[in-house]
Symmetry: C2
C-alpha cells in the first residue's frame, strides 16, 4: 500500500462560501487582519498497485474532485 | 499578509464516515486495492501581523478544529 495525499481546492475565481463564512466568523471572534480564506479537502488514501499516483488521478477525475469548480493535486510522500 | 495553511484531520482512531463513504464509492466504481481513506480540511488563510502562525493556532483552538476529534497542523510556506 502506498500513501497518497490528494488536495482538492476551489478554483481561483470560484466563489468559496465556506471560506467566506469562516472569514466572517473569525472577524466576529475578534481576529483582525484576516484576508481571503479558502477551504478545500485533504484526502489521504492507501492505494495498492504499481501506479498509485495514476490511480489517484483517475479517482479525482471520476469522484474526488468536481473539475468544473475544483482543482486537485496529488502527492506521494517519501 | 502572510499565507498560512491549516490542515485539519480526524484523529487516529476516530471514525471517519466521510472517508468510509468515499472508500466504498471507489470500490463500486471499480477501483481495487484501496485501503483506508481519511478526509480532512485544508484551509488557506491570508493573515496580517507579526505572528501569523500563532494567530492561526488561536483560530484552530477557537473555531477551525474540534480538538475532541480532530488534529490540526499549521504551515507557513516560504
Amino acid at each position: 500500500m502506498t500513501q497518497v495525499i490528494v488536495t482538492v481546492m476551489p478554483k481561483q475565481g470560484v466563489l468559496d462560501p465556506q471560506g467566506q463564512a469562516v472569514a466572517g466568523a473569525l472577524g466576529q471572534l475578534g481576529f483582525e487582519g484576516v484576508g481571503e480564506v479558502r477551504i478545500g479537502k485533504r484526502i489521504e488514501l492507501a492505494i495498492a498497485g504499481d501506479d498509485p499516483a495514476g490511480q489517484a488521478r483517475a479517482m479525482c477525475e471520476q469522484l474526488l474532485a468536481n473539475a468544473l469548480i475544483e482543482d486537485y493535486s496529488i502527492e506521494v510522500p517519501g
